[in-house]
Symmetry: C2
Subunit: 147 residues, 2 copies
Amino acid sequence: MFRRYLKAQSLRYTAERADILAAVMETDGLFDADSLLMEMRGQNSSDVSKATVYRTLRLLQDAGIIMPFMLLDAKVTHYQLAYGRRPSDYIVCMQTGRFEPIDCDEVVRLRNRLAEERGWQAVGHRFVVYGVSPEAASDASLESPAQ
Amino acid sequence: MFRRYLKAQSLRYTAERADILAAVMETDGLFDADSLLMEMRGQNSSDVSKATVYRTLRLLQDAGIIMPFMLLDAKVTHYQLAYGRRPSDYIVCMQTGRFEPIDCDEVVRLRNRLAEERGWQAVGHRFVVYGVSPEAASDASLESPAQ
DNA sequence: GTCGGTGCAAATGCTTTGCATTGAT
DNA sequence: ATCAATGCAAAGCATTTGCACCGAC
């Protein structure tokens, strides 16, 4: 799929790109350029430079294989695989930062309907619920928010 | 509200913070540090430094008055007011980058239910639908995405 | 043999921070 | 008077880019 995309664009399928693709395919959930690189180095793959990781992540995004996923207050760009039954939805604790995936068909149906109503064609979506996790709620070390 | 928050934290309510708060309250939709600063300079407000804008935006976020909103591929942090009937939902064109707000009660109901089911307390949410806008769909200058 | 890819290091650009001065309380 | 806030300029840091060499086609 990536190979096909590259060929269509007259781009080359190199060992580095193959390694990065393999590492990406093994991810489960969110990842970023740096965590991916560490993962690759921890394993075995030929040592790929950071610049190439960034360049290849961009290609993978253009190819529709991964999609960026912006987390609240994140300083780095997170990605996840764009296809298959990957969670597009998360619930994030505003106090601890802990997050967990949500798997919910209704969100997909809703997004399709909303797009259709406007004459758009839905391709994907991101749904992030911000809230207070059970652990945080029982921790009284924070005063109540201003709202 | 901001003032109350500052007092509670033994922080000071300064002219700069008042100006920034005022500018923030006038925003409609998304803004970022730089656009806010330009807006303020275009108007009249005392000339506030960029550093102070960043510092104050952080405080406003801590106070629960604004919330960050990460857009796909954005290089800067976007914010919007955290309360009131502000759109938390957008539909973004993956080809042109154009986006428009969605206003939909069902999303709020859905997020509340999802949080509740997990023992969380929902505070806010972000819902972004990625798709193809009508203009882009009729423009054949882009090949179809790999997915 | 072409022309795109890679690694390195330097550059970019948003955001943060150190420090001396200013100002709210 | 205190002690935090501001402005400036200098960091920081993720990401991008220029360039010389390398390698897929």
